[in-house]
Amino acid sequence: MSAETGSTDFHASSSKALLDPSLRANFRRAMDGLMAKRAAQFPDPVEWDALRTLAASIRARTLAKLPALLEALEARCTANGIRVHWAETVDDANEIVLGILRARGAARLVKGKSMVSEEMHLNDFLEKNGVESLESDLGEYIIQLDGETPSHIIMPAIHKSRQQIARLFGEKIRGAEYTEDVDALTATARRVLRRKFFEAEAGVSGVNIAVAETGTLVLVENEGNGRMSTHVPPVHIALMGIEKVVEKLEDVAPILTVLTRSATGQPVSTYLNLISGPRGPGEKDGPGEVHLVILDNGRSRIFADQEVAATLRCIRCGACMNYCPVYTRVGGHAYEAVYPGPIGSILTPQTEGLAKRHDLPHASSLCHACVEVCPVKIPITQILVTLRKESAHASPEFLVKGAGGGRDRLEDLAWWGWRMAHVSPLLYKAMSLGLRVFGPLLKGGAGPLKAWTQARTMPRRAPRTLHDLASEKGLPDA
C-alpha cells in the first residue's frame, strides 16, 4: 500500500507474487484440489441448477426483507437470552467486544474462524488492549503464529507448504520438534490449543447463518474448535455482518448443502452447531452469556444500490476464488484486502471506496468462471464491470463510496481519440496510414504499449488493411 495516497496497487503486488515460484506452486496445487472436489459434488447439472436457483432465491428473499428480518432476529435472540448489539463500524464493533470482556474481567480469549473479525482486525485491537486473542482454527492458528493474514476465506493458510509450517512450529512452539508429518503437526496444535480452550475466559466466533424465525446462530466447521470456543468458555461473543440472516429455519438446509459442497467439496461439514441461547436452566455446560454483534461496516450502503446489492447474497464459500485464474496465480495476499479473489474484488471497493480500491475491479479477466460456480448466482463479472465504469465516470445516481475516484485523464484522452477515429472515415484512414508507416517502428517499446507487451507478444499487423482488401473485391466504401 503506498503511504502517500493510502491506495493500493494490485498491479505491483501481483507482479511481485508472480515471481514467487513456491507461492504459485502452493496455490496451483490447492486450487486444483479444491476444484476437483467441488466438481465431484455436483455431477448432475440439472440438480446443480435447481439447487443454486433455490439458494439464490433464499438469499434474494433475505435481502428483500432485510430490515424486518434483522428486527425479527433481534427479537427472537433476545427472547432466547442472547444479547444483541449493533455496530455501524469496525471500531464500534471492537469497542463492543472489549466492553463485554472488560465487564467480566476476561483477558484470555479463544476464537473460532470469523471473517468479520478479520474485517475488524480484532486480534490486533484486543492485543493492544491487553487481551490475549488466540485463533483456534488450525489454518488461522498457523498464520497468527507467523504474524500473517488469511490468504483464502476458507483455507487461510493455503499459501504455506508443510515445510514452511514445520519450520514455523519448530521455531515458535515450545517442545515442538521439526516434522513434516501432517498428523504430527496437527497433534501439536491440538496439544497447545486444548490448554487454551480449558483456560479461556471468553470465546469469539463468526456466524454462517442466523435464523430470524428461531433466533438461532448456525456455525459450520470440521475441526471442533468452533464448538470448543462457543461451549467451553463462560462467555460467547458471535460476530456477524447484517446480511448473514435468513428468514426461516428451513432456509438453512439448501444453503448448507451448497455451502459445504462448493467450499471444500464435502457433502456436509463434520459439525453443524446450532446455538439458540446461553446455558439453559439445569444445563451443566455452555456459556452463561451469549452475545451477538451485528456489524454494518458499509453493507447498508451496498444494499442501497440495486445494481450491486447482489454482492450481499454471498455465503462466503470461496468457490469463486478457487476457480479464478487470477487468484490462482497471484494468491490471496496480492489483493491487500480481507476478502481476496472475485468476491473481494467486488466487495472491498464497495466497503473501502473506489477512490482507494479502484485497482481491484480490474483484477479479473472477466472469464466468467466465478459466476458459473457461485452457488447463489451473484453476477460477479457484471458488478466488476459496473465498478470499473463507475470508478472512472461516476453516474449521479450511483451510491458506492468514492465513485469516480479512479479516473485517469490520459486514459480518457486516449479513448476520446479512439472514438473520434472510429466516427470519422477520414481520421480512420489517417490512423491506418500512420500505423502502416510508423507501426514497425513501435516494436512494443513505447508508453502504454510497453506495459502491454511485457506479458504479451505484440500483435502482428496484417500487410494490408481490411479496407484495401474490401475495395479490391469491389465492395463500396461507406
Binding site: 440438480e47 449493533w86 455496530a87 496437527t186 491440538r190 438446509a253 444445563e283 451443566k284 451485528i294 444494499f303
Partner: protein, 216 residues
C-alpha cells in the same frame, strides 16, 4: 441522537424493497429412500469420513459397548447418568473389568479438569440421523450435556436404525424445529478433522479423534 441500531435499520428501510421470487424447495424435498437404503447410505457416507460402526442387538447393546470400551483400554468414560441409555450402560458396567463411569451430573466448572484430562471416552444417545449426508443429530440437555460429545478423544454414540430419516429438511420439518430449539443442537458427521495443511486430511484436531456409532 438515534443509536447504531436505528441508523442501520433506517438506512435499510429507506431502500425500496428488492424484488424476489418464492423459493422452490422441490429439489431437496424429493430426496427420499427406503429404510434399508437409508441405513446403507448413512453407513457409507459416515464410514467415508472414518466413522466406525458397532452393530448391536437391542437387548444387549450395553454389553457390546462395555466390551468395546474394555477392548479399547478406556479407563474413564463420561456419560449422562439420568438418561435411559445412561442407566442401561451403568447397569452393564457394574461387573468387574468394566471401565469406570464418570457421571456428568454437575456443572462443568466442577468437572472441567476431569473431563479434559482424565476422561478417555464420552457416551451419548443420538436423537435421530440423516441418511442424505450421513449425519447424527445430537440434542444436548441437562441430562446429557454438550461437552460429552466434544471433549473426550473418543465419542461413542448410540443410534437406533429406526430413527434414520431422509434429509436435514425432512427432519427439521417433521420434528417442528421451527417452533423453537433448545440452546444447543449439534449435527455430527464424523470425527473431528482438518485439511488446513496442504489440503491433507488429518483426523482428531480439536474434537474427538474417533467417532463410534453403536447401531441397534
Amino acid at each position: 441522537m438515534p443509536d447504531a441500531r436505528e441508523r442501520i435499520l433506517g438506512r435499510l428501510r429507506a431502500v425500496k424493497p428488492h424484488a424476489f421470487t418464492p423459493s422452490d424447495f422441490s429439489i431437496v424435498e424429493t430426496k427420499t429412500w427406503s429404510p434399508a437404503a437409508r441405513l446403507e447410505r448413512l453407513r457409507t457416507a459416515m464410514a467415508a469420513v472414518r466413522t466406525e460402526f458397532l452393530d448391536a442387538a437391542a437387548h444387549d447393546w450395553p454389553e457390546t459397548v462395555r466390551a468395546f470400551l474394555v477392548a479399547q483400554g478406556a479407563r474413564n468414560v463420561a456419560y449422562g447418568p439420568a438418561t435411559e441409555a445412561g442407566r442401561l450402560l451403568a447397569a452393564a458396567c457394574t461387573r468387574a473389568g468394566a471401565p469406570a463411569l464418570v457421571p456428568y451430573d454437575r456443572p462443568i466448572e466442577d468437572l472441567k479438569a476431569t473431563l479434559f484430562d482424565d476422561v478417555d471416552a464420552g457416551f451419548t444417545a443420538v436423537r435421530c440421523a440423516i441418511a442424505d449426508t450421513g449425519t447424527l443429530v445430537l440434542w444436548p440437555s441437562p441430562e446429557e450435556p454438550r461437552l460429552l460429545s466434544l471433549v473426550p478423544p473418543l465419542h461413542v454414540a448410540l443410534l437406533s436404525a429406526a430413527t434414520i430419516r431422509d434429509t436435514l429438511l425432512s427432519v427439521l420439518r417433521d420434528e417442528g424445529w421451527a417452533k423453537g430449539l433448545p440452546p444447543n443442537v449439534v449435527l455430527v458427521s464424523g470425527p473431528s478433522k482438518t485439511a488446513d495443511i496442504e489440503q491433507t486430511l488429518a483426523y482428531g484436531v480439536h474434537g474427538p479423534k474417533r467417532l463410534v456409532v453403536v447401531l441397534v
